[in-house]
């Protein structure tokens, strides 16, 4: 698919104080129908979007964190989390949801979608994109 463009969605904000995280997720899911090459990046407070065990009952907003687990079904399996952002918040990969995708070409083997990368590595990944959208 040589005419597919590389789309990167950057998520920078914590999930429920503003509408950015949910809007981003909806755009990603809608965009997935167009079969582009999609990547997601989570930096700064955006890393909180992927936290395990989210509970929104006290804030009265729908907990949309289970929806990230559906990304694999939408063939979105390049999810980059910035190492420095995790460390600055005292978080590790274990604090995040375990997101996987199934590789059709490898007998539906389950593979990890999340990759923790340094700021410098992320900059290089941004460099390769055709379209970068920031939320």
């Amino acid at each position: 698919m040589s005419d597919a463009k590389k789309f990167m969605y950057i998520n920078r904000k914590a999930p429920y104080g503003t509408i950015y995280a949910w809007e981003s997720l909806e755009v990603v899911l809608i965009g997935a129908a167009f079969e582009q090459d999609v990547s997601l990046a989570f930096v700064d407070d955006g890393v909180y979007q992927l936290m395990k065990n989210q509970d929104t009952t006290e804030v009265g907003i729908k907990n949309f964190s289970p929806t990230y687990s559906a990304l694999g079904d939408y063939d979105i399996n390049k999810i980059y989390v910035e190492k420095e952002s995790l460390e600055a918040r005292g978080l590790t990969l274990d604090d995040l949801q375990h997101l996987v995708w199934e590789d059709e070409d490898d007998d539906w083997a389950e593979k990890d979608s999340i990759r923790v990368v340094t700021s410098a590595e992320l900059a290089e990944i941004f460099e390769q994109q055709d379209v970068v959208l920031s939320f």
Binding site: L29, I30, A70, D73
Partner: protein
Amino acid sequence: MASIEVNGKNLDVDEEGYLENLNDWVPEVATVMAKLDDTELTDAHWEVINFLREYYDEYQIAPAVRVLTKAIGKKLGKEKGNSKYLYELFPYGPGKQACKYAGLPKPTGCV
């Protein structure tokens, strides 16, 4: 606001007939909605409706039709995981029509 009558109760629906309140759903909702479309629900319909409700429960979204087709094929067998089978059951579009009967919102990305 439009509404449909189910078990003697009036339930709010939007201008396209989708339930306004997810929690209003009971199986009879699907039966009543199908009747409005002149459709008789069979076990094959229910299989898809129940699948969608489980999917929503787990992921909090109604899946895009491509994702639904793939997931149905995996769960219920290859012969059911194709658009021909699903469109025969739900001629108005498996995403739109089946999600409506299941009491879910219109699928994300469905135009």
